[in-house]
């Protein structure tokens, strides 16, 4: 059961990291710059992954109990609610039948619609994890694989920070429909 908890936490982080890397693929590969609401959804996803990440990081330092689990997955549920609200908002902005939507669809759905699916999944997985809380505190074995997942997640957050700074430049917010990286192509 302990290894299942560790594996599930790793899987959650890896799944969200994979989605963020795919978003990089769309941004840098297809050249579609993210809008402000897309960026808010990325923030929501990173915050949602903070729950299991914090769980693994706490487990590295000692035994963890039900309260730790509840706090970590509580963070994920809150982040999923905030991120899901942003996804729903963006979906509703483009819900009119004649509206082509923002960006190209991926596997039939736009990225913001996938966002709703991802945040709903985070809520469901966090709920399942909360159902499996241990009665007593336990020591989890955090192996090399978990550390690699955490390093990858940290790298994705760092690259996102650099990318958003390049996109925003020295302005307060990202424009509604960005066309260039304002750090390089626009004076402050």
């Amino acid at each position: 059961m302990r290894s299942l908890r560790v594996n599930l936490a790793q899987f959650c982080i890896l799944a969200i990291t994979g989605v963020l890397i795919a978003a990089f693929g769309v941004q840098f590969g297809a050249g579609e710059l993210p809008c402000p609401l897309c960026m808010l959804q990325r923030m929501g996803m990173i915050l949602a992954a903070f729950g299991p990440a914090w769980l693994l990081l706490r487990a590295m330092r000692g035994p963890i109990d039900a309260r730790d689990y509840a706090q970590c997955y509580g963070i994920s549920v809150l982040a999923a609610i905030v991120g899901g609200a942003v996804s729903v908002r963006q979906t509703l902005l483009h819900i009119a039948p004649s509206d082509p939507g923002f960006g190209e669809p991926v596997m039939g759905l736009h990225l913001y619609t996938w966002g709703i699916v991802i945040f709903a999944t985070v809520c469901i997985v966090s709920g399942i994890q909360l159902l499996m809380l241990p009665k007593n505190s336990e020591r989890l074995h955090i192996g090399v694989r978990a550390k690699c997942v955490l390093f990858l997640f940290a790298a994705v957050i760092t690259v996102n920070t650099v990318a958003v700074f390049a996109l925003e430049g020295f302005h307060w917010v990202i424009p509604d429909d960005p066309t260039s990286y304002r750090l390089f192509g626009d004076a402050p």
Binding site: P36, L37, M39, L40, M43, G44, I46, L47, F50, A53, W54, L57, R58, R61, I75, L78, A79, V82, A85, V86, R89, L93, L150, F153, A154, I157, T158, N160, T161, V164, F165, L167, E168, W172, V173, I174, D176
Partner: protein, 51 residues
């Protein structure tokens, strides 16, 4: 604002990594508040455009 939020996210992760629970918690709350404020800004902005 987006850059600031991502810097907050980075700081929060570093605090978690180093085991600073209070600092990580505080940064997490700050990040949530900043994300909600930014969402509110964009939501009202789009509402004004549509009106």
């Amino acid at each position: 604002m987006d850059t600031i939020i991502f810097i907050l996210l980075c700081s929060c992760f570093v605090a978690m990594w180093r085991g600073r629970r209070k600092a990580a918690g505080l940064l997490l709350v700050l990040t949530f508040v900043a994300v909600i404020l930014l969402f509110n800004h964009h939501a009202t902005d789009a509402l004004e455009i549509s009106l």
